[in-house]
């Protein structure tokens, strides 16, 4: 199993600013992922955070808007850049190994005003 700590747990931000979300895992993991959950919706995968190389983004998500860092096997950050109210969502960090349970952080609830 893995314990994931996400910070901040929530934030209210002004439009046009950026927020960096941190994800810390209590053990080394190969794969880390970032998800977005818009109000009343399911989870949508933003990107896979790769250690030592650029993140792999899903269709509809770009690095300029959601830059991701993965400096080591236990830590990653997601930045939401130049925010607008449409970015108000819960952002979740996840880790997993192939064919096993995926673990999730408690999420960061972002409100953009």
């Amino acid at each position: 199993s893995a314990v994931i700590s996400q910070k901040p747990s929530r934030d209210i931000c002004q439009r046009g600013t950026s927020l960096t979300i941190q994800c810390q895992v209590d053990s080394q993991v190969t794969m880390m992922f970032w998800y977005r959950q818009q109000p009343g919706q399911s989870l949508t995968l933003i990107a896979t955070a790769n250690q030592g190389s650029e993140a792999t983004y899903e269709s509809g998500f770009v690095i300029d808007k959601f830059p991701i860092s993965r400096p080591n096997l236990t830590f990653s950050t997601l930045t939401v850049s130049n925010m607008s109210p449409e970015d108000s969502s819960i952002y979740l960090c996840s880790v997993g190994q192939m064919n096993t349970e995926a673990f999730f952080g408690q999420g960061t609830r972002l409100t953009v005003v």
Partner: protein, 111 residues
């Protein structure tokens, strides 16, 4: 993007009744997981079923998987008010490690 769809989108039942939710997906999978989420909080893992398995049980939960139909179902027996939550299926495609979520079912259990 969503890998699959769940139905119904919303379900309201009386306490003590059974609740069945269905998940359909589009591509071949390594496994399928079911999660519960209460009021926008964190995800609680319920069951993982691998592609070579057909049925799994955990307490009041029963999950089936039909890879020929690309579908899974989650049955909650003898439901309780505390089961009120959103339920999501998530699939892992072979070689990808990543999970793609279904659209979810909102379950309301009335006391």
């Amino acid at each position: 993007s969503q890998q699959g769809e769940e139905d119904p989108q919303a379900l309201s039942i009386q306490e003590g009744e059974n609740a069945t939710m269905n998940c359909s997906y589009k591509t071949s999978i390594n496994n399928l997981q079911w999660y519960r989420q209460n009021s926008g909080r964190g995800l609680v893992h319920l069951i993982l079923i691998r592609s070579n398995e057909r049925e799994k049980h955990s307490g009041r939960l029963r999950v089936t998987l039909d890879t020929s139909k690309k579908s899974s179902s989650l049955l909650i027996t003898a439901s309780r008010a505390a089961d009120t939550a959103s339920y999501f299926c998530a699939t892992e495609a072979p070689g990808t490690y990543k999970y793609i979520f279904g659209t979810g079912t909102r379950l309301k259990v009335l006391a």
